[in-house]
């Protein structure tokens, strides 16, 4: 058989020899699994929004219908890094054990079978129109740079041990959700809305019905209830698109060279009881396995398979015309066939760990963390004190996606370099809806601690009445700019801030005062004031103020419940 194949090209051999049925089946199982998890991922992402549940009675508190944080809670990197930074596992992050134990037993199946970013990368890797097979085979050989992901992981681990959580920057799930939620989906929304609104504006009945149908069909998922806008979302989206386009040149270059979750699982897979056996003698170096390899794990005969790099895609086993490659439980531990160790240089590993150690004091040597906090860094309700917050936040952007008013925005440097893309409220974009606690519901790590509506409002959960022992959660305090306020500066009636103030009794109160206007007439207007103890900092006053550009009432973070020291009042401070 080998003799008659000798004169054929690899492609002909591929056609001529029907590879094992089992190998093909498992490839289809993988594709079905990838599709299932990708669809599940998008479904849960689209459900990360309260769309109005008209069947519910008014008594029910508003919650999401699905466990939308599932992928982040299953993410081993989230679990390991928050365990290092907080010495605990938050709520459902324990689910990550499923993937961790699975990886220890059989290797990086998550990368090949579950990871939605991996699936997208694989999909975009298939567009390589003008690249010759030889070049693609060459690109799929293991290269030294692919170890970079381990060094990234070590730097992140060092930072996490010393309480600054940076893994979210490159964790694939957090990266994907953040990119989609704060950039790609808003862009898709903008484009679709423009198109549908253009149809609607035609005033032709049939086109209007088409537009309405489009809104109601797409409104179940892709379209949000109203357009969302995010601070510098362009850059978040541009990075994401660059990652996808990178696949055009190197198959799954993110998964191979950058992904710190892949690196973590590469380390875990060294104990795997599942792996590859190679029959080197049968291999005639046709390189079909390399042509289809996803992980660049050296499946070809003659050299050992790199266990830590393999995504278990089973392409190699499926396409091998000579049955060189066989995946099985308890494969022979032959060093010529299996290399369990990742390609790590001890010196590089220590250097990257040290880089993480050096980065942390560098981050915090700037103004902003220990001194001179940014007054507009208003964290979502339930957020932990800043150091605990930074030890947990993975910048996944789910709180930004779920916020019904679009108030929660990715920060730039308001919380220092290390706080980039962490959530903060921008009251011109939205405001904190008084009864809403959805951001805490979706936060997978407890950076925004899960609180109930009653806890947020400082009410007794039984009676629903204000509880004297429980204070409402305060995210900041409102201040008046009397030089811009209509009743104060211009003698014009307004008090919209007072109308919108949601606390009872209202934090914004008014006094009737006589004001002389420029023409000498004396009129009576109500002038607003802020009661610092009642104000919860929700910012609806700032949002509703008719002074559009720089509102006459604005919120800063002083008085926030989460901080022991960022207080005005003696009664609220830590040392009292």
């Amino acid at each position: 058989m080998d003799a008659e194949n000798a004169n054929k090209t690899p492609a002909e051999k591929y056609e001529a020899v029907k590879h094992s049925v089992r190998g093909r089946r498992i490839r289809w199982a993988r594709r079905i699994s990838q599709s299932f998890f990708l669809i599940l991922f998008f479904f849960l992402l689209f459900q990360t929004e309260f769309r109005g549940d008209f069947d519910q009675s008014s008594a029910e508190s508003i919650q999401l219908n699905y466990p939308v944080s599932l992928f982040l809670e299953m993410d081993p990197l989230v679990a390991v890094s928050t365990a290092l930074s907080t010495h605990a596992l938050y709520n459902k992050v324990i689910l990550a054990l499923i993937i961790i134990v699975g990886t220890i037993l059989i290797g990086r199946f998550f990368c090949g079978w579950i990871c939605p970013l991996g699936t997208l990368n694989q999909f975009f890797s298939s567009f390589k129109p003008e690249r010759k097979a030889a070049a693609r085979i060459e690109a799929n050989r293991y290269k030294g740079w692919m170890a970079v992901k381990y060094y990234i992981l070590f730097a992140f681990i060092a930072l996490a041990i010393f309480t600054s959580l940076q893994v979210g920057l490159l964790d694939p799930i957090a990266f994907l959700i953040r990119s989609l939620a704060t950039s790609i989906l808003p862009a898709v929304n903008t484009a679709l809305r423009h198109g549908l609104d253009w149809l609607y504006a035609s005033n032709i009945r049939a086109l209007q019905i088409l537009a309405d149908t489009g809104y109601s069909v797409l409104g179940a998922g892709l379209l949000s209830y109203k357009p969302q806008y995010y601070n510098f979302g362009f850059f978040i989206g541009a990075i994401f698109i660059a990652v996808l386009v990178g696949n055009r040149f190197i198959t799954r270059f993110w998964c191979r060279g950058i992904c710190p979750l892949g690196a973590l699982m590469g380390l875990l897979s060294r104990w795997s009881i599942f792996g590859m056996e190679k029959d080197h003698a049968k291999c005639d170096n046709c390189n079909l396995c390399l042509l289809h390899c996803q992980g660049a794990c050296d499946p070809q005969g003659g050299i050992p398979w790199r266990q830590s790099e393999c995504h278990l895609c089973f392409n190699c086993q499926s396409v091998c015309p000579h049955d060189v490659i066989k995946f099985k439980f308890f494969p022979k531990q032959d060093p010529k066939s299996i290399n369990e160790q990742p390609d790590l240089k001890r010196r590089r590993a220590m250097e990257s760990f040290a880089a993480g150690l050096i980065a942390l004091p560098l981050f915090r040597a700037s103004l902003g963390f220990f001194k001179n906090r940014n007054e507009r860094l208003i964290r979502p309700p339930g957020s932990l004190e800043e150091d605990d917050f930074l030890a947990r936040c993975i910048r996944c952007g789910q709180c930004m996606k779920v916020c019904p008013t679009n108030a929660i925005q990715p920060a730039l440097f308001e919380s220092g370099i290390e706080g980039i893309w962490t959530p903060m409220l921008v009251m011109r974009a939205g405001y904190c809806e008084y009864n809403c606690v959805l951001c805490g519901e979706v936060c997978p790590t407890g950076a925004i601690w899960k609180i109930t509506e009653a806890q947020k409002l400082g009410k007794s959960p039984e009676t629903g009445e204000p509880d004297p022992d429980a204070k409402p959660v305060k995210i900041g305090t409102a201040f008046l700019d009397q030089g811009r306020c209509l009743p104060w500066a211009m003698g014009i009636p307004c008090i919209v801030c007072e109308e919108f103030c949601p606390t009872s009794p209202k934090a914004i109160w008014t006094l009737e005062e006589k004001v002389t206007r420029s023409d000498g007439t004396v009129i009576t207007v109500k002038r607003p004031r802020v009661d610092v103890d009642r104000c919860v900092g929700c910012g609806i006053c700032e949002h509703a103020c008719p002074v559009q550009d720089r509102p006459a009432i604005y919120v800063t973070n002083v008085g926030e419940t989460r901080s022991r020291t960022n207080q005005i009042r003696l009664e609220s401070g830590a040392y009292n």
């Binding site: 309260f50 769309r51 109005g52 549940d53 008209f54 069947d55 519910q56 009675s57 008014s58 008594a59 508003i62 809305r193 549908l196 609104d197 609607y200 809104y215 209830y225 109203k226 357009p227 019904p404 008013t405 809806e433 008084y434 009864n435 809403c436 209509l486 014009i492 009636p493 307004c494 008090i495 919209v496 007072e498 109308e499 919108f500 103030c501 949601p502 606390t503 009872s504 009794p505 209202k506 008014t510 109500k526 509703a544 103020c545 008719p546 559009q548």
Partner: protein
């Protein structure tokens, strides 16, 4: 090699092609040049929205019912006016405009009572309405307001079409008011055969009382927070623009202080009252009296009466008062 000379045919072909291109470019240029003007955004529609129907003189102008559940109060009040058939014709599209302004539950009395809304939806369908729409432009997040007010569930249960406010469905309307000229209006509210206003009586810190006339704030988009600067005139301008078929005023639970948003049930009085009528000013004058206000304390009432929108002295008209057990 000597160059070939251009022959006549080539000359004509090439020069006519160039000529056509030059003419087309010039034509397009001059046409675009003639369109040069400052960009205009004003595409407002002029229209006063009048949904009133002729009522027989024998009918009472207003019915005030006390002492019962919201459902009983609503149905008695409408029956006293001759039943919903006096207002809604077979095949009508009826829009109900309750107050769904705030993320509050019914006990807090910041939004119209959901049972009352449900009953009015049923009455409209019984009178032969083809479609009943329930909508409002909320102050808080509309999804929360529609759910937590209980109105979405109640109206849907009775078969109404509940429409959440959406930015794309606002159109500029020319009000030609004393103060308001052009404002964006939520079109599902005005695209109707009949419009029924379903306000709730509440204290309001700026204009003392909010009832039916003030409820039309909830038809506007844009920066309606500017309207507070001249709240009385803006209320009357809105009420001049839209003349409802019927007003049914919810005074079952009444927020007597910390309005219009409330939040504390200690500010709520159980008054078990509903008033219905075709004169929006009379209804509001009655509502103000429930809050213990003199009509002078609610300046927009007198302005509205001056404009001929109705009369304040509702006692002088044919009011039918009903007390349920």
């Amino acid at each position: 090699m000597p160059e070939e000379k251009t022959n006549r045919r080539q000359f004509l072909e090439r020069s006519s092609r160039a000529g056509v291109a030059a003419l087309a470019a010039s034509g397009a240029g001059f046409w675009l040049w003639s369109r040069n003007e400052h960009p205009r955004r004003d595409k407002a529609v002029v229209q006063v929205r009048n949904y009133r129907v002729r009522i027989p003189e024998t009918m009472p102008s207003m019915a005030i019912v006390t002492g019962g559940s919201p459902v009983q109060l609503a149905s008695e009040a409408v029956r006293a006016l001759g039943g919903m058939r006096s207002f809604v014709a077979r095949g009508d599209v009826v829009v109900l405009k309750p107050n769904i302004g705030w993320d509050r539950v019914p006990q807090q009395a910041a939004n119209t009572n959901p049972d009352l809304v449900r009953k009015v939806v049923e009455l409209c369908f019984e009178a032969g309405a083809h479609k009943v729409v329930v909508t409002d432009v909320s102050c808080n997040d509309p999804r929360r307001c529609f759910q937590r007010s209980g109105i979405a569930a109640a109206a849907e249960a009775a078969g109404a079409t509940v429409i959440l406010p959406e930015e794309r469905k606002f159109r500029d309307y020319r009000f030609n008011g004393e103060l308001l000229s052009v404002w964006p209006v939520f079109t599902p509210i005005v695209e109707a055969d009949k419009v029924i206003n379903l306000p709730i009586v509440k204290h309001h810190n700026l204009c003392n009382a909010t009832m039916g006339l003030k409820n039309w704030y909830g038809m506007l988009g844009g920066r309606r927070n500017q309207l507070h600067q001249n709240i009385d005139i803006s209320i009357v301008d809105l009420a001049t623009f839209i003349r409802p078929t019927l007003t049914i005023l919810d005074a079952y639970r009444v927020l007597v202080s910390n309005g219009p948003q409330g939040g504390n049930i200690n500010d709520v009085r159980l008054m078990k009252t509903v008033a219905a009528g075709t004169d929006p000013v009379a209804i509001d004058a009655f509502g103000a009296s429930l809050l213990g206000l003199k009509t002078q304390q609610v300046p927009y009432l007198a302005i509205a009466q001056e404009r001929g929108l109705g009369r304040i002295d509702f006692e002088q008209t044919s009011v039918k008062r009903i007390k349920l057990a």
